[in-house]
Symmetry: C2
Subunit: 185 residues, 2 copies
Amino acid sequence: MSQPVGVGRLPVPEGKSGCPINLTVELLGDRWSLVVLRDVMFGGHRHFRELLTNSIEGIASNILASRLSKLVDAGLLSRHGDPSHRQKIDYRLTEAAIELVPLMAHLGAWGSRWLPTSPELSIRAQLLADGGPEMWERFMDELRATHLEGRPHPADGVLAELTLAYERAASTSKRSTARYRPTPM
Amino acid sequence: MSQPVGVGRLPVPEGKSGCPINLTVELLGDRWSLVVLRDVMFGGHRHFRELLTNSIEGIASNILASRLSKLVDAGLLSRHGDPSHRQKIDYRLTEAAIELVPLMAHLGAWGSRWLPTSPELSIRAQLLADGGPEMWERFMDELRATHLEGRPHPADGVLAELTLAYERAASTSKRSTARYRPTPM
DNA sequence: TGCAACCGGTTGCACGTTGCAATCGGAAGT
DNA sequence: ACTTCCGATTGCAACGTGCAACCGGTTGCA
């Protein structure tokens, strides 16, 4: 639970830079990896079809498949069988992925501040950003309980709070965007 | 200085998702954008050749050119003439880019924690992450003075502190990586 | 005045990745 | 038996990246 992902702590892969920012960008810096993690983290979607159908950005099935297996290989997601259906796969966040919560919070905060985001979705990002490290820790503990130990999300948890804020904002917004499920931030 | 980049606050570009995380990923989620910003921010490189030659990751000139113009269009960099050479261009961070400092700090911290980074470079990332919001604010003010107002970096500033820590770590490391200038984090 | 070094790029081309639509074989429900 | 749902895979076109050569203009120096 506290080891680096991949092949362990080694002499820095040859030809690569060894810079923490660069390596992180190399791993997560593409069009979809962080979006998939966002949907698992904030949307609560943990199955292939669920991620495919509820994605507002409309990810293609082959891309989703390749991202899921890449994230599993990188140690950010883990695969588990689902008792309800033999070939249903439950993708769960690992500790490494859970520790991306502060990064997601900053990503959302910066986007809300500088990019033309939709108000309902910005509210959730703002709420999480304003909650600060203390709220992030609560959320991370909630995710650990859900994804590492298999317990359900508490009804009064951070995720519930964020979803409630979104739903309130969405219901009072003039042009309804209700054709989408409130998956993303 | 406090407007969103791009076309201003508009009804969310059509067909796009409006999610703050998604929009940020769409803008910065590629192999090079954040790496270029890192070199401008932490490496102090502000000219084309400087960025091209001192990049440890070895960016190609056409990619660098396309990223620079994309970042300028997005409002993260601004172009200025250089008095010393008529066709030399000084790329400076804008306020929007300076506000990516916390994101960079988290990116570096997460990478140091979970990926096989090189120790000298990790030390700088750790230092910045451990400094917390208070240190980030000091660094951002320093960058504002340098990039928005054209003053030099103070000798006792955050950047100097980070560079010193890197140099100490690099000089005591066995296998010298001195062929590289200490550009990245 | 000539010339080499430097300035920010551009061009052409090979290659891998992405995006899209259709489809796959196995498992479950009815 | 038939339909639906499951996580993918395939073929194909378009795009992004990586590499090397090259561009016109500017500067410093002999």
